[in-house]
Every structure is written in C-alpha cells, then in structure tokens.
C-alpha cells in the first residue's frame, strides 16, 4: 500500500529479527565452535537457534533477542554434548535418557524460560557484594577494572566474586540435573 517503510508491519519486524540473526551469526558460530570443538556442528546449531528465534519472535515479544538466541544455541549445544558423552561411554544413543538433560527434541523455548526463572531465583542466594559485581559486569557491561575502581576492591577480588556468583548460578541451573 504505502511506500513508506513502517516498522510495525509484520515483515518489517521480521526483517529486523532477521537482521539481528544475520549480524550475530559469525560470532554465534565462533562461540559454538569453541564450545563444541566441531565446526560443522557449530553451524548446524547456529542455524537451528536462528530458526527458533525467528519462530518465537512471531509468537511473542522477545525482550532480549540476542541473549535469547545465544541461550537457545547454548542449550542445543548442551544437548549435543550430553549425547556425545553418553554415546562415547556406551556406544549407544537411541535410548539416551539422562535425568539431567532436556530430552532430545525437548522444548527449548520452555527450557530457556525455566533457566531464566531458576537464575532469577538464585540471585537472592548470592551475597550482596557478589550480586553487585555480577550485575555490574553482566547486566551493565562494566569491565572488572571499572568495577574494582567503583567498589574499591582488588581486581582479583572482583574476579573471585564473579567466579563464585557464576558458579552458583550455574549450579542453580543444573540443580535438577545432577545430584
């Protein structure tokens, strides 16, 4: 109808999600390659995560599409890593069922939401100092040096707080999966 581009039209929004995926793609593949140690698998997982980002963005608003994309990709990689560990140790794969993992083909959108809920809840279990360091570093994007100056801490102390906080969130995330 109109020649003026309108961001609220579905295909303009579809374009912007496609832009985000396209602009993150090489970084995502590099990240997954490091994580899995397998270049071909990294590309497959990036593609699959992109598909899920695009589908999900049409169902509901995604507040943090980039983090969502990387998170879905990470969970796909975790599935693959668990499968690989199982098939390496038993040389079978078909009846793989680890109480810990999302079942292959599990709903990764739900698993992302569950992870976010678990991590949000776990924030309250951190010491106030560790939480400050974590939020400054990971939500507000400050470097460790900036945080050290800001909170008048030694840089090594900042790293230690961050390590402990991340490990605690990681444990909260995997709590259901490992005893």
């Amino acid at each position: 109808m109109s020649a003026t581009p309108d961001r609220s039209t579905p295909d303009a929004a579809a374009d912007s999600i496609a832009d985000l995926y396209a602009s993150c793609y090489s970084e995502l593949v590099a990240y997954l390659r490091r994580l899995c140690g397998d270049a071909g698998l990294a590309e497959d997982l990036a593609q699959e995560a992109g598909m899920r980002l695009i589908s999900q963005s049409r169902r509901e608003a995604i507040a943090k599409p980039r983090a969502f994309l990387f998170h879905v990709a990470t969970n796909l990689a975790r599935d693959q890593l668990r499968r690989r560990m199982v098939s390496d140790s038993y040389a079978i794969d078909s009846d793989y069922d680890d109480a810990g993992g999302h079942a292959p083909g599990a709903d990764h959108i739900a698993s992302v939401q569950e992870d976010v809920a678990r991590v949000s809840a776990a924030l309250n279990t951190l010491t106030p100092r560790a939480r400050d360091v974590l939020v400054l570093a990971r939500i507000h994007g400050h470097t460790q040096k900036e945080i050290a100056d800001q909170l008048k801490l030694q840089p090594k102390t900042v790293e230690n707080h961050l390590t402990r906080a991340l490990a605690q969130l990681g444990a909260a995330l995997t709590g259901r999966r490992r005893q």
């Binding site: 929004a13 579809a14 608003a61 998170h71 961050l162 490990a167």
Partner: protein, 314 residues
C-alpha cells in the same frame, strides 16, 4: 569437595576472566586446551554460559539496584524490541520440522545421503533403492525376508520379485510389505507416508488393521498412530525420483517443505497467509537454490538470504 562443583568453578573462572574484555591469544589457547581435555569441561562451561545468558534475560537482574546508575540502558533496548515485536500475533511458518544433527544416525546406517545428494543403489537381491536427499537406511537380507529400515528421509524402491521372502520397509511403527512392486516411503517427524507406483503394498501401523495400497494410492500414518489414512499427495511423490519437482495447484507451504529437504539452508515463510496459495510449476531439484528463486518469483514474494536460512516474506 564435590568434583562437579569444582568443574563448575573452573568454568566460571574462565567465564569471569573473559568478562568485559577479550581474551589474549594465550588465554584463548589455554581455554581451548582446557575445554578439549574432557567433555565434562565443555559441558560445565556450557552450563555457565547458559546461566550467564539466562541472567541477561532476567527481569529480576535488570531490576537490581546497583552502586552506580547503569551506563547503558537495558530498558531502552527492551522497549525497542517489544515495540518491534508486539503487534505480531501471526505465527512464522517453519515449513519443515527441526533437522536432527544426524551424525550418529549415519554411523548406524548402511547407506545415507547428504543434503541435496540423492543416490541410487542396487541391493544384493536385485532391488533398486533410490535414497533421496538427507536420508538413511539400514538393510538386512535374510532367507525368509528382506528388511529395509528407513532411519530418516525418503526412499523409493523397485522391489525384485521374490515371493519366498517378502520385502519390508519399516519406518518408526509403520511396516510396508511388498513382494514385487515399486513404491516410495517418506519419513518425517510428523509421520510416515507410503505411495505406490506399481503393484500392491500392505501397510501396517502399530496394532492397527493393515491396509492394502495399489498403484496410485498413498497412505499417511501420523507418528505414534495405529491407523493409516488414505489420501492424495502423490503429486509431490513422483517428482524427486526423476530430479524434477512438478506441481499443479499444490499449496506453497508444501512445495517449500519439499525444496527445504534439498537445501542446506532452512526455509521460513514469514506470513502464513501465503501458505495455502496454490502453485503450479516445474522446478529443478538438482539446483534447489534456483528452484527456490523461481518459486518466490512465481508467488511474487521476497526472498531474503540470511546465514543458512532462506526467509520468504511479502
């Protein structure tokens, strides 16, 4: 100390070091070395990464009061994206199911094909097996029966006549049995289709009553179902064995799903109002990228290539 925890701690240490800056070449190499030492290291690192991405999406984390006002406004980003995405209640149509990374399936199969590279093979009994794009089978020849298990994808088989040992093609819970005939079996996440070109094929699903299909008939068994439903779709099933996809008045979504099988790219149709649009075309399957281009033009839709995804929109 619990060894799992200590791995998580090590992984968290790496993640903390990389926080807010790039790793040096040496650091980068030692992280890669640590990851390669043990699959458990990779998994622990992935767990920490997942936690960090979950944190980024956590409204509770964004709402945390911190010692200093944020330099970057997370709230603004949120607003921009919600404005962009809010009016969209339309589902994007992913035209085919997820592709399972098939490495282990290939290792456990007797014959498999890569995307876009169908193959033809004469089996030891003289039957001619055509294996379509991205497919895998296991074959077992015994004195009293012949078995072909379709692990994924699609096959067409011209069965060498041998009444003493019927040939079974199994796919999930579906068993298609023939003595001498030519037929197609197509396995996807949603179910298994069987189409008969010549002769008679008996299709059994789970504990349900078998149905007999004769030439020109097609049956579809949904995953986990005990009953085959008879139907059309022969239109799409003829083409691939000859390398051409000829369709007449077939819905766009079905044609796209067919091309999707041949492309390393995945196809997404952004507007599902277009899904039902009838398409009449003849498309070359040996050049699926060109076929997709022609199809988009025919349907007067825009084709956008983003990494490993073909996005079709108005």
């Amino acid at each position: 100390m619990n060894p799992t925890e200590s791995l998580l701690q090590q992984a968290a240490r790496w993640h903390a070091i990389a926080s807010g800056r790039n790793l040096s070449v040496d650091e980068s190499a030692s992280l890669d070395h640590w990851l390669a030492q043990n699959p458990r290291h990779r998994l622990a690192y992935a767990d920490i990464c997942a936690a960090a991405f979950a944190l980024e999406q956590s409204p509770a984390a964004a709402a945390q009061p911190v010692a200093r006002p944020a330099a970057r406004s997370a709230a603004r980003t949120f607003l921009r994206w919600s404005l962009a995405a809010a009016p969209l209640l339309v589902l994007a149509l992913v035209v085919a199911g997820p592709r399972v990374v098939p490495t282990w399936q290939n290792l456990n199969s007797d014959l498999y094909t890569e995307i876009g590279k169908p193959q033809q093979r004469t089996l030891s009994d003289g039957s001619v097996l055509q294996l379509d794009t991205d497919s895998a089978v296991r074959v077992s020849m015994r004195d009293d029966r012949r078995d072909i298990e379709l692990v994924r994808g699609r096959l067409s088989i011209a069965v060498a006549k041998d009444p003493a040992r019927p040939l079974h093609v199994t796919s999930g819970g579906v068993d298609a049995m023939a003595v001498g005939t030519r037929f197609v079996v197509d396995r996807s996440d949603s179910g298994t289709g069987v189409g008969v070109h010549e002769g008679i094929v008996r299709v059994a699903a789970g504990k349900g009553e078998p149905v007999e299909l004769s030439a020109g008939q097609h049956a579809f068994v949904a995953s986990g179902a005990d009953q085959a439903s008879l139907g059309r779709r022969a239109n799409l099933e003829e083409g691939w064995t000859g390398g051409v996809l000829s369709v007449e008045q077939v819905p766009l979504a079905e044609v796209l799903a067919e091309l999707d099988r041949y492309l390393p790219e995945r196809i997404i149709l952004s507007n599902d109002a277009e899904a039902a649009r009838p398409i009449t075309a003849s498309l070359p399957l040996d050049d699926p990228a060109a076929a997709l281009h022609v199809l988009a033009q025919t349907a007067q839709l825009k084709l956008r290539h983003i990494p490993r995804v073909a996005y079709i929109m108005r």
